[in-house]
């Protein structure tokens, strides 16, 4: 599914990723944890091709294709989805309109017919219910006036509608109370399948109680410094990142 080899990337003049390697097979859930400034969010942005995030070395393949050769929207159409940590507002553009364009852009890339308004509405309503958002959210402007928790649920709704191959969840748990966390986790779990893979970026072990990862990786100073199974997250929870010593300090700086 996804192969990252020796990835180096910088933002402006600062090198953030310093030789990150990771392989994800279809159906797997990988959690990425690490101290602030380790490069967790950067990884999501680099993979999805955000402007200003420059790859200086390494390779990334998604489904056998050279991901780094593709434009941002092409990567999305290849099935890469990023759930944003801080989703931005687009005033006046309704969620419905935005998602319909988006779903149909994906369908077009797959050589499928666009959905009619009625077909789309049906799917959108289901997805809305699944993340416990009232249906009038479809009519509201994208993220316009949404609370933090609503924004996160809205991201998961988009993920459900877009049916991506690889989902990157960038701190989808931050700022959520326990009920909202459960809703987000349920939404994610409902989408787990043998074909779909997840990268769950989180600061806290808490989310992983709800979304059980197959692997946990610790990212520090732009590299994966330790990998293990779900128990590694518990260890981190107990010990913190102090054991990383100088590396974590440096990354924080």
């Amino acid at each position: 599914m996804l192969k990252i080899h020796n990835l180096h990337a910088k933002v402006e003049d600062k090198t953030i990723l310093k030789g990150l390697s990771l392989e994800i097979k279809p159906g797997e859930v990988h959690a990425i944890m690490g101290p602030n400034g380790a490069g967790k969010s950067t990884l999501g942005y680099v993979l999805s091709g955000r402007d200003g995030y420059e790859v200086i070395d390494g390779q990334v393949e998604l489904g056998g294709k050279d991901l780094l050769e593709l434009e941002t929207e092409e990567r999305a159409r290849e099935g890469l989805f990023l759930a944003f940590q801080y989703p931005v507002e687009i005033p006046g553009v309704s969620n419905m309109e935005f998602m319909k364009e988006s779903v149909n852009a994906m369908r077009e890339a797959r050589g499928e017919e666009p959905l009619s308004a009625a077909e789309f509405l049906k799917k959108a309503k289901e997805a809305c219910k699944q993340v416990h958002l009232p249906l009038d959210f479809l009519k509201r402007g994208v993220n316009e006036g949404f609370s933090g928790g609503e924004k996160k649920r809205n991201e998961i709704m988009q993920m459900i509608l877009l049916e991506p191959k690889l989902c990157i969840l960038d701190e989808s748990d931050s700022g959520l109370d326990i009920d909202a966390l459960q809703v987000v986790a349920d939404g994610v779990n409902s989408q787990r399948s043998p074909e779909r893979s997840f990268i769950v970026v989180t600061h806290y072990q808490r989310l992983l109680d709800y979304i059980k990862p197959d692997f946990v990786h610790i990212l520090a100073d732009g590299k994966i410094v330790k990998s293990g199974d779900a128990s590694l997250a518990l260890e981190v929870e107990k010990e913190g990142y102090a054991w990383l010593g100088g590396k974590a300090q440096e990354a924080d700086a």
Partner: protein
């Protein structure tokens, strides 16, 4: 990022073709003789010739206004031809079959096939092609309802009393420099009269198109909605691509008598000039309406074209309880300059006005909103709400807001809100991450920004406005 946006915005001007049609054009220059010739060509009555000559006299004494936030080389009014008519129009066509097929193809290229419109759209089109009204469709059906919709040159002969009674009553012939020029040399335009209590059975629509080189287009439109009547009117404008600047100085006068409502929508797509600011239309337009008791005038404009836009569709709220509205989207990109807005003159009691202005600037463009809200001493309980939003795309463009508020009545309430925002990298990235290309993303964000105005446009024209901004309108949500 800004590069992507630039690309998205630097689309070609699609209406920039020239039609090969034989025309009769006056030599460049303006003097009394030219005005007499225009009047004679149109076989006008003496009173109108005199009216023109008086306007010309005032114009000669006036100075071109310089207060607008616009920069352009002085216009040489003697280098412009003031009359151009397709030759085949000299004997006016009785039906579409008699219209020059080349002319009809021009309209088709513009996406307004007259045949199709006749059959499907239910829109009556009075197409103005370099000064002379070419063909008026649906006239019969309208006349059945008592609605008069014809070229103003024809109305001068068929309805002289109406024209004489109202012409120049809302925009006096010496109102301003460009209005005076128009009054002196106007060649054609539309005339509309809706009788008492009649609701026009269809939207009325006029397409203006400038074809000849070095001709100004000076059309004059007069709409009279008699007591308790209703009409919705749309003008769409395009012009071919030329290296020279072309002058367009139009006048539109609306008269809404007691309890009448006029909705006037404009989609303006004149040639904006090339990326270096060469060529393009100079659009100096005076539009004004007067509202009598309980009357309602609503201006909606989508301005995407022209090198220079100088335009302030206004309402004089003379009658008690009358309502004026102004909804505007002005997009300026490249080297375009726009100075546009409105005037709401509250004279009557409990008069209400709403101003929603959306200015979008991209490239090196400058976009200014200029608005006057005036509360007269008798305007007890009058209210105005103004919302003025600017959207910047890129970092080389400018947005300017010049609101003027004058209140001479302590019971009047005036509200003004203004915002300035940018199409952000984050918004663009979100759209692209969801599979949309940059062009689609920008147009979607711009569309969202303009939504409050677009929803005021008649449905069939909202689509056109959307197309102009490379956007698709929202699917209907249950």
């Amino acid at each position: 990022m800004s590069e992507q946006i630039e690309q998205a915005l630097s689309r070609k001007y699609e209406a920039g073709f020239v039609s090969d049609i034989e025309s009769e054009t006056f030599a460049a220059g303006l003097d009394e003789e030219v005005i007499r010739k225009i009047s004679a060509m149109k076989n006008e009555p003496q009173w109108l010739l005199e009216w023109r000559l008086k306007a010309f006299e005032s114009w000669q004494k006036m100075e071109e206004p310089e207060w607008a936030h616009l920069h352009y080389a002085k216009i040489d009014y003697q280098a412009i031809s003031y009359y151009s008519a397709p030759k085949s129009m000299k004997d006016k066509p009785k039906s579409l079959d008699e219209v020059d097929p080349e002319l009809l193809r021009t309209y088709e290229k513009l996406g307004i096939p007259l045949y199709e419109q006749q059959m499907l759209a239910g829109v009556a089109v009075d197409a103005v092609f370099d000064s002379v009204s070419v063909v008026t469709t649906f006239r019969e059906k309208l006349e059945e309802a008592g609605v008069i919709f014809c070229p103003i040159s024809e109305a001068v002969h068929r309805f002289p009393d109406l024209v004489k009674k109202y012409l120049g009553t809302v925009v006096p012939r010496s109102d301003n420099y460009f209005a005076a020029l128009n009054s002196a040399v106007f060649t054609d335009g539309s005339f509309v009269y809706i009788p008492k209590g009649v609701r026009s059975p269809m939207e009325l629509s006029t397409y203006f198109r400038i074809n000849e080189q070095n001709t100004g287009q000076f059309e004059r439109t007069l709409i009279i909605a008699d007591e308790g009547s209703y009409v919705s009117y749309l003008e769409g404008c395009t012009a071919p691509q030329r290296d020279e600047n072309q002058l367009h100085a139009a006048v539109v006068e609306l008269v809404a008598l007691d309890n009448a409502k006029i909705k006037y929508s404009t989609v303006q797509n004149w040639y904006p000039g090339d990326e270096n600011g060469k060529g393009g239309i100079y659009n100096f337009v005076t539009k004004r309406g007067i509202c009598h008791t309980n009357a309602h005038i609503s201006w909606t404009q989508v301005e995407t074209g022209s090198a220079i836009t100088w335009k302030y569709p206004s309402c004089i709220l003379k009658g008690d309880n009358s309502v004026g509205e102004f909804y505007s989207v002005a997009l300026a990109r490249g080297k375009q300059q726009a100075d546009t807005g409105t005037k709401m003159i509250h004279l009557g009691k409990n008069t209400k006005s709403t101003i929603i202005s959306k200015g979008i600037s991209a490239g090196d463009a400058n976009n200014a909103y200029r608005g006057l809200v005036q509360m007269g001493p008798n305007a007890d309980g009058a209210r105005n709400f103004t919302q003025c939003d600017s959207l910047l795309i890129g970092d080389q463009c400018g947005a300017h807001t010049f609101p003027y508020i004058e209140s001479r009545n302590p019971s009047a309430i005036v509200e003004h809100e203004a915002t300035t925002s940018k199409v952000s990298d984050e918004q663009l990235f979100l759209c692209q991450q969801r599979g949309l290309n940059a062009e689609k993303a920008v147009s979607m964000i711009v569309n969202g920004f303009c939504k409050e105005v677009f929803k005021e446009l008649p449905m069939e024209f909202a689509v056109e406005a959307g197309k102009l901004l490379e956007i698709s309108l929202e699917g209907s949500v249950g």
